[in-house]
């Protein structure tokens, strides 16, 4: 069984300040982890992914995430928020088990960026 918990449903930051969106996961097998972003009335776009290579993963638009197995975490960070970062962010865990890829979405974190 697997699960993913996004610890904050809403995060509010000022433009130019750091962003931290928290994600914890649970998995019986070695997981792949993803962050997706969804802007209002838009589709889901992949930000970055971890698939057992480097634990620090760099994504698009200056985002990065660090896989910490001991803490079962995969938090998303960005050094300086931009107004265009305002969106909903989903943490996703994926495990290959039973012959197929089983995917579980978190409940999402809505990021507000204050000018």
């Amino acid at each position: 069984a697997q699960s993913v918990t996004q610890l904050d449903s809403h995060v509010s930051v000022s433009e130019g300040t750091p962003v931290l969106l928290r994600c914890n996961y649970s998995s019986s097998y070695s997981p792949s982890l993803f962050w997706y972003v969804q802007h209002p009335n838009k589709g889901l776009q992949l930000l970055l992914k971890y698939t057992s290579a480097a634990t620090l993963v760099k994504g698009i638009n200056g985002f990065e995430a660090e896989f910490k197995k001991s803490e079962t975490s995969f938090h998303l960070t960005k050094p300086s928020a931009h107004m265009s970062d305002a969106a909903e962010y989903f943490c996703v865990v994926s495990v290959y088990s039973g012959g197929y890829q089983k995917v579980t979405f978190g409940t999402g974190t809505k990021l507000q960026v204050i000018p």
Binding site: K42, G43, L44, Y96, G99, Y100, K102, G108
Partner: protein, 113 residues
């Protein structure tokens, strides 16, 4: 490469009517997913196909929802009859190699009146 295509983009129906959504995944992608995303919530997996076989439909309300993927390529999701609570965005996604990321289509926004 072309992305995941979905149609229609928007649909408005009355409760108890039927509706169907179509999805064409990225060429060569073996796995296809249908998700339901209710406003303010995360995507909920309805059904997952690997080639033309179903590998997970545990959250599909089978009394009213059905889906098929003929020839392991495009797919159709049907709701019959629709209820008010089916109002949502229906997302289709596909993925290729094992542990690869999902690519999402633009979604179909369904409103049931």
């Amino acid at each position: 490469e072309a992305g995941v295509a979905q149609s229609p983009r928007y649909k408005i129906i009355e409760k108890r009517q039927s509706v169907a959504f179509w999805c064409n995944p990225i060429s060569g992608h073996a796995t296809l997913y249908w998700y339901q995303q209710i406003l303010g919530q995360g995507p909920k997996l309805l059904i997952q196909f690997q080639n033309n076989g179903v590998v997970d439909d545990s959250q599909l309300p089978k009394d009213r929802f059905s889906a098929e993927r003929l020839k392991g390529v495009d797919s159709t999701l049907k709701i019959q009859p629709a209820k008010l609570e089916d109002s949502a965005v229906y997302l289709c996604a596909s993925s290729g190699r094992v542990l690869n990321e999902q690519f999402f289509g633009p979604g179909t926004r369904l409103t049931v009146l």
